[in-house]
């Protein structure tokens, strides 16, 4: 009887999984040894992210540099180089500004999604060629420096939907490089420096 019940439970689990049903519809998997009846429990895990916040004094517009004039000695240098490469439509320069691991990740994603140099150049031509870039904030978080920036048209109109875009930088072999290290970090996706929210509760399931 117990064996039959177990088989029925496994069949139900398999059916739920195959149907793509939400996994946590109450109990969805069962033990094979004797247990007590299930009791519900709740657990809260708190993570505190500590960072230093700097706000740009007034409208700090980034210059557009030629590649030979740019350096990667400081985070600001790397930010200027990155935004110059975009506005100069220099794909190779842009690619060289990633750290090694992030560049590999990016190129792998491009291959998977069928994107290439032309795709990016067309995009940048439309979005960045004549754009003005204003730096808004600088955030220091561990070994990372994050800048936020706005994209304006030649006439000064915000063409980025009012969004402050983040750019994450970290030092690699003595140079500041763009990195994807924080791509899964909630601090970046939830950007408290932009939302103004200092605390958030997430219901995971």
């Amino acid at each position: 009887m117990r064996k039959l019940l177990q088989t029925l439970k496994w069949t139900l689990t398999a059916a739920l999984l195959l149907a793509g049903a939400p996994m946590y519809a109450g109990e969805w998997v069962w033990p094979t040894l004797d247990t007590s009846e299930p009791q519900t429990g709740e657990l809260t895990v708190t993570t505190r992210y500590v960072y230093k916040l700097y706000v740009a004094e007034g409208a700090q517009e980034l210059p557009v540099l030629d590649r030979p004039a740019a350096t990667l000695e400081t985070p600001v240098d790397a930010l200027i180089a990155r935004m110059s490469a975009l506005r100069k439509l220099d794909y190779d320069w842009w690619l060289s500004l990633w750290d090694k691991r992030s560049r590999e990740l990016y190129q792998e994603k491009d291959r998977r999604e069928g994107r290439n140099r032309d795709y990016w150049l067309t995009l940048w031509k439309a979005q960045f060629r004549d754009a003005r870039i204003l730096v808004r904030k600088k955030i220091e978080y561990g070994k990372y420096t994050i800048f936020t920036y706005s994209v304006l048209s030649k006439t000064g109109q915000d063409i980025g939907g009012g969004i402050e875009f983040p750019l994450v930088l970290a030092k690699e072999d003595g140079n500041w490089k763009v990195t994807l290290d924080l791509r899964a970090n909630p601090l970046l996706s939830e950007s408290p420096w932009y939302s103004g929210i200092a605390e958030k509760t997430i219901q995971v399931n």
Binding site: W10, L17, P22, M23, Y24, E27, V29, P31, T32, L33, D34, T35, S36, E37, P38, Q39, T40, G41, E42, L43, T44, V45, T46, T47, R48, Y49, V50, Y51, K52, L53, Y54, V55, A56, E57, Q60, L62, P63, D66, P68, A69, A70, T71, E73, T74, V76, D77, I80, K137, K138, P186, E190, P192, A198, E199, K200, T201, I202, Q203, V204, N205
Partner: protein, 191 residues
């Protein structure tokens, strides 16, 4: 004429130097201080306690198909008891399996873990104590009992996730903040 040529060359060189000189970035920021962002993740789970507890019989070969997460935990310790590292590593998630045999630090940590359990299993028995189910994982709490009375009972927790229709021990979950919090919660309640 020659002098003019030299001057022209010097000027051209100077111009070239200026145009290629590094730009001295001057972006001014106001420091607004150190900030903290607190993120609370709330989890719901179902908790069962194993009853009629006794040392489980270990297996002499790996499971051929999915028999459930607690059977996979028994298989995990059986592999060590049989001193079969190949079997044991097959019980882990894919990322961890790939780290085995590589220069990745995870390999050394796994080797240490294997040796540690191997030592303990020479004189200890496995008992399952608690079963916790979350949205995508099952956490099996277990005791290694017997052995040196001075060292007491060893309490362990293994998180398992479904991977290709089989339950696998998740090394990333073992190193998560959630792991420590759940351990504290369950042991605080029942031990």
């Amino acid at each position: 004429m020659e002098f003019r040529g030299v001057v022209a060359l010097l000027c051209a060189g100077l111009l070239l130097l200026c145009s290629h000189a590094a730009y001295a970035a001057d972006i001014r920021f106001d420091y607004k201080g150190e900030k903290t962002y607190a993120r609370h993740e709330k989890y719901h789970f179902l908790h069962r306690t194993y009853i009629n507890r006794k040392p489980v019989d270990l297996l002499d070969q790996k499971l051929l198909f999915n028999e459930g997460p607690d059977r996979e935990v028994i298989s995990f310790f059986s592999a060590i008891s049989m001193d079969d590292p190949k079997w044991w590593i097959s019980e882990w998630d894919e990322q961890t399996r790939n780290a085995w045999g590589s220069k990745n630090p995870t390999h050394t940590q796994l080797q240490d873990m294997y040796r540690y359990y191997q030592r303990e299993l020479r004189h200890r028995k496995l008992e399952l104590t608690d079963w916790v189910v979350l949205q995508h994982s099952v956490w099996i709490f277990l005791d290694l009992t017997g052995g040196d009375p001075a060292s007491g009972v060893l309490h362990e927790v293994l998180p398992l996730v479904l991977e290709g229709g089989r339950w696998r021990v998740s090394y990333p979950d073992m190193n998560s903040q959630f792991y420590a919090a759940l351990k504290q919660k369950i042991y605080g309640k029942s031990k």
